[in-house]
């Protein structure tokens, strides 16, 4: 049933149905209790841990989203995405045939061309943040245009931000049509909708926003821009993954999940992966259904794998910068 390699049918979205989400109830204490249990109930050790961390690399959207990004900076990032582990380590682990790389590189629109050039010939997606990222408060037509610009510039994936005010004001239908118009604008490029979970109030709102975005045709729902005061957390992610499960059961379409910001070490990444496996199953541990929006995570994973291979901890400076 859950063939890991089954070809994913894109979520086409559904009509707007408020009955699906209007009665959603979320109990924060119970959600937090569950989150605290994942790593107590499931162990991933030694070879398994190395394998899971390798998988984690393949789930990374290696990201740079800074005002001071330059072509050179982006080029370096792309090199790292292509060669996430140094050659010696790859050899020691005997995983040359895997050609391990990150899932994607994620940049601002203006960095797309530099990135595209660097990634040429590699099976790494190019993602652009869009729609007035991170606040999403520029005029709607411009936001839609921005998506089209990025798609034209070669983006395979568009990470859009939703209008938080639609959630806070309860204008779910407006949110639906906004995201739907983004989906239309992105065409073949896959759409990741950033909920900015740190800015939309409570867990019930997060659950409802997740449902509305999926109805509007999101390929992924994503926690945060990385710029909010609170970014990805396990409780938020549990709520979102439960919504993905409900949506799948309702429509038969699988939607992906991307925690972003706050996942910066191997231990945390594993917690998220355990959660995905427990809540959604093994199928959701593939790059078409899970991503980590991260920049420093890779460095930590590399050190852990080095430790697995050599038995000793490595220093940060021995691994190439992203």
């Amino acid at each position: 049933m859950d063939n890991n390699n089954s070809i994913l049918t894109r979520n086409p979205g559904t009509e707007f149905r408020s009955d699906v989400f209007s009665k959603i109830k979320i109990n924060r204490s119970a959600v937090e209790k569950r989150c605290a249990e994942y790593s107590a109930r499931r162990s991933i050790k030694k070879q398994d841990q190395a394998a899971w961390l390798m998988k984690a690399i393949s789930l990374i959207d290696l990201t740079t989203l800074s005002g001071d990004d330059t072509k050179a900076r982006v080029k370096r990032l792309c090199r790292k995405a292509i060669n996430p582990l140094n050659d010696k380590l790859v050899k020691n682990l005997s995983i040359e045939s895997l050609k391990l790389s990150t899932a994607a590189v994620c940049v601002y629109h203006d960095m797309l061309s530099a990135a595209k050039k660097s990634l040429e010939g590699h099976n790494i997606n190019l993602a652009a943040v869009s729609t007035g990222f991170p606040a999403g408060l520029s005029p709607l037509p411009l936001r839609i245009e921005e998506i089209k610009y990025s798609v034209a510039a070669g983006a395979d994936e568009i990470d859009i931000v939703i209008s938080r005010r639609h959630v806070l004001e309860g204008n779910w239908e407006d949110l639906y049509s906004e995201v739907k118009s983004f989906r239309k604008a992105s065409g073949k490029a896959h759409l990741k909708t950033i909920l900015a979970t740190g800015e939309i109030g409570n867990l019930a709102n997060i659950a409802k926003a997740s449902q509305v975005c999926m109805m509007a045709g999101a390929d992924f729902i994503k926690t945060s821009t990385g710029k909010e005061p609170t970014n990805a957390t396990l409780p938020v992610s549990l709520v979102m993954s439960r919504m993905i499960k409900d949506y799948y059961e309702l429509t038969g379409y699988r939607v992906g999940f991307k925690p972003a910001g706050g996942v910066s070490d191997s231990k945390t990444a594993l917690q998220y992966m355990i959660m995905m496996k427990e809540e959604l199953g093994r199928r959701w541990l593939e790059p078409d259904l899970m991503r980590f929006g991260a920049s420093s995570l890779l460095g930590d994973i590399e050190r852990q794998l080095d430790h697995y291979s050599s038995g000793y901890y490595s220093a940060h400076y021995r691994h190439p910068l992203a």
Partner: protein, 787 residues
């Protein structure tokens, strides 16, 4: 398997906790344990041995020696010898030792966890994250009460020697629940661990030794049910605390009947897990994992009865089944599992046969397909399509087996939840605080969890009602189980029989009827008995009640349940009115007391005034006997609410008939109970004459019922009546014995006293908190919050 394979599979690891530390410790003790008595480890060559095996793989872990009667005797002697000096040592010194026990357990936490898992079969994750930390916390918490005893509980003294018998499902945790409060309050104890899980208790005995617990304060003896029964019945044991099955609880009640011992019984359950349509369903499903699939379902308070609102039944069942598929069964020492092994082969067979027998009477079984190791691993199970009359919905299974029924409305949910002999716990799943807080008080159980299940802490009382036992463990409420009021100095309470004024014999011959359901009724049997004055002249005839009169009285009391839901303010107003109406009849009552009881005018005035004052006191207490908010370590509040016990029967003393009658009835009805009052026969008319005051005081019918007659006979009927929730008595040892043995089956709460144990005129002895506590049960409502 290569790294590439693992990369493809992304499976969890088997992460076995090493058992080396525990095996080594067992070896160090030559895999054999005797008794720990008077600070010494005693071993007998020719002792009868019990094999302690690991349920995981049936390996023999150790042999324990069954203690013989001589050793039980020695343990009791040691406990008696040490108790006084232990108490006299003072709270601070005791606090230091409890603190040191906590530290010592903490230092050996890993050994304790591994030992527990080897011995019991529970997952190492649970012994490591739940059993052991909670046990440690219990000693810390009660170290604090030892420290505060002198300032906070100065009116009480320790009960003395406590016999404590604990079960196999949480061996060390149950030890902590029993030992910590007992020794904190200055008692000495003799503990008997379950014979199939004694190992952590043996470890604990070594820690006691190292922590400087004075010899004889803690004694631990080994053996089976027989040893437990002998210990409990020992005449020099003042208190028996037992946790285990309802059947064994009855045995203990039986073996101690007639001894008038203080008793705490924490017994079985069939707790409801109630899911309303406005619940967070995914969280409720996880709640079930914490509830019925915690400790393999071998938990007295497991939410084994799922009650789900019909509109979401299908949806929830689907979610549960999906979740069950994700549960992992495995070797108990594996950190990657959810469910370990049942405690023994016997338990496995028991669960298996209850389920199989049950299924022959209907029901649909769903079991997850998780692969099971050999030995005693029972699969997580869900049984649907059964109703309340099905044996599986009534009987405690004590395994990972959940049964499910649906309800239509909130009131039906409450009815179904209460439709059980048990009353230990329940959880309520709803995001509507109005609903949750409305339902919580209506469930007859000692512990209620809102949107959670199986939360425990030393600061919150745990314990049940109905056949789940009585008494609380944990919290301030749990301390009273190991305390008694300081001894009263009882002066001469019987009035001297001076020659009274001649009674006016010209008045019409009177027969006082019973007072039942707000009406004066004739005795069913048509019998009456005379009541004589102190000068031996005839005062009046009173009815002599029988089984049917008791039946009618209890039935009236049950019907008057609405009294409990009246506001405390209203009940207080009615008690004040009662006092007011009594006070205007002062002359009549003073005369009656003189003639009937031979009191001097002064004494009669004093008893009368004191009676009015006492009614005022309880009217005052009605809206002031507040609950507590416990400070447990979670984001939420635990409300400890004093709730009415229900129907209380009172076998009253002969002496001081007016003030003792008021002293018993007033606190009970103040707290919302309904009373069946059985006056002492020699002054029975006093209570019956009160009827006229009661009738004019707006007290609803059935709240107070008075039946006179042969106290022994009536007491037996009341003790045997399952709808009487509690029985108080001031009576002879033979009646106490009769009451205790009659209530073995229904496990009624009893408060037995000697008939002349106090002077009812003295406030300190006869009014206040002791009476209010007996009139209430503490219900702990756990309320996590956060949005």
């Amino acid at each position: 398997m290569t790294l590439m394979d693992s990369f493809k599979d992304l499976e969890y690891s088997q992460a076995m906790e090493s058992d080396a530390i525990a095996i080594e410790w067992l070896k160090k003790n030559k895999n054999r344990f005797g008794q720990y008595i008077d600070g010494k480890f005693i071993s007998q060559k020719n002792a009868k041995l019990i094999d302690v095996t690991s349920p995981n793989d049936s390996t023999l872990l150790a042999k324990i020696e069954t203690s013989d009667n001589n050793q039980i005797e020695k343990a009791v002697e040691a406990a008696i010898r040490s108790q006084k000096s232990w108490f006299d040592m003072g709270g601070h010194e005791r606090a230091k030792i409890l603190y040191s026990l906590a530290r010592s357990l903490q230092k050996h936490a890993r050994l304790a966890a591994v030992l527990e898992t080897l011995d019991n079969g529970k997952p190492i994750r649970e012994s490591r994250d739940a059993d052991i930390p909670l046990a440690i916390r219990h000693f810390y918490y009660h170290a604090g009460w030892a420290q505060l005893q002198n300032s906070e509980l100065s009116e009480y003294e320790p009960v003395g020697v406590a016999a404590q018998i604990i079960p196999w499902n949480f061996p060390l945790l149950m030890l902590a629940w029993k030992v910590a409060p007992a020794i904190a309050m200055g008692n000495s104890i003799i503990l008997k661990p379950a014979e199939n899980t004694p190992l952590t208790a043996m470890l604990f005995s070594h820690l006691c030794h190292d922590a400087g617990v004075p010899n004889g304060v803690i004694n631990i003896i080994n053996g089976g049910a027989e040893t437990g029964a002998t210990l409990a019945a020992h005449p020099n044991v003042d208190k028996v605390a037992f946790t285990g099955s309802t059947a064994v609880g009855r045995e203990i009640r039986k073996s101690t009947a007639g001894q008038g011992k203080k008793l705490t019984l924490e017994l079985g359950g069939k707790s409801a897990f109630i899911v309303f349509d406005d619940a967070d369903l995914d969280s409720a499903v996880e709640g079930l994992v914490d509830s019925i699939w915690f400790n393999q379902g071998e938990v007295c308070c497991a939410g084994s009865r799922l009650l789900v609102q019909s509109s979401i039944e299908e949806k929830l069942h689907k979610k549960i089944k999906k979740r069950m598929e994700k549960l992992r069964h495995g070797r108990s020492l594996d950190k990657s599992i959810d469910i370990g092994s049942l405690v023994s082969d016997t338990q496995f067979k028991r669960v298996n046969s209850i389920v199989n027998d049950g299924l022959t009477k209907g029901g649909k079984l769903f079991q997850s397909g998780c692969p099971l190791p050999k030995n005693n691993y029972y699969p997580p199970s869900l049984i649907t399509d059964i109703d309340s009359s099905h044996p599986l919905s009534q009987e405690e299974i004590f395994g990972p087996v959940l049964i499910s029924m649906s309800f239509r409305t909130q009131s039906e949910a409450i009815d179904l939840a209460n439709n059980t002999r048990y009353g230990l716990s329940a959880s309520i799943w709803s995001e509507n605080i109005n609903r949750a807080m409305d339902v919580a008080p209506k469930i007859k159980a000692g512990v209620i969890w809102i949107n959670s299940h199986n939360k425990f802490d030393a600061s919150c009382g745990f314990g049940g009602v109905k056949e789940s036992g009585f008494g609380r463990e944990g919290g301030k409420e749990g301390l009273y189980e190991y305390l008694k009021p300081k001894k009263f100095v009882v002066g001469k309470t019987m009035a001297t029989k001076k020659a009274p004024k001649k009674h006016d014999n010209s008045q019409i011959d009177r027969t006082l009827k019973f007072y039942i359901g707000g009406k004066q009724v004739r005795p069913d049997g048509g019998y009456s008995v005379p009541v004589y004055n102190s000068d031996s002249s005839l005062e009046v005839w009173v009815g002599s009640g029988n089984r049917k009169d008791i039946r009618n009285a209890v039935s009236a009391a049950c019907k008057a349940e609405g009294w409990n839901s009246q506001s405390a303010h209203n009940r207080a107003q009615i008690l004040y009115y009662f006092a007011e109406n009594l006070s205007i009849r002062k002359n009549e009552w003073v005369e009656r007391l003189q003639i009937n009881c031979g009191l001097t005018n002064n004494m009669a005035v004093k008893e009368f005034n004191e009676s009015v004052s006492r009614l005022f006191s309880y009217a005052a207490w009605t809206d002031k006997y507040d609950g507590l908010v416990h400070n447990a370590p979670y984001r939420g509040v635990t409300l400890a609410l004093p709730e009415a016990v229900g129907v209380i029967a009172q076998i009253a003393p002969d002496l001081q008939p007016l003030i003792s009658c008021i002293s018993l009835i007033a606190p009970a009805i103040a707290m919302g109970n309904r009373v069946i009052f059985i006056p002492g026969i020699s002054n029975a008319n006093i209570a019956l004459e009160l009827t006229q005051v009661i009738e004019t005081s707006d007290i609803p019918p059935g709240v107070i019922n008075i039946v006179s007659g042969d106290q022994n006979l009536l007491a037996e009927q009341l003790a045997g009546h399952a709808e009487v929730d509690s029985l108080w008595c001031w009576t002879t040892p033979s009646t106490v014995s009769l009451i205790e043995s009659t209530s073995i089956e229904n496990l009624k709460r009893l408060w037995c006293n000697k008939d002349n144990d106090r002077d009812w005129l003295i406030k300190k002895q006869s009014e206040g908190l002791e009476f209010l506590r007996q009139s209430t049960e503490i219900k702990n409502i756990w309320t996590p919050y956060g949005d």
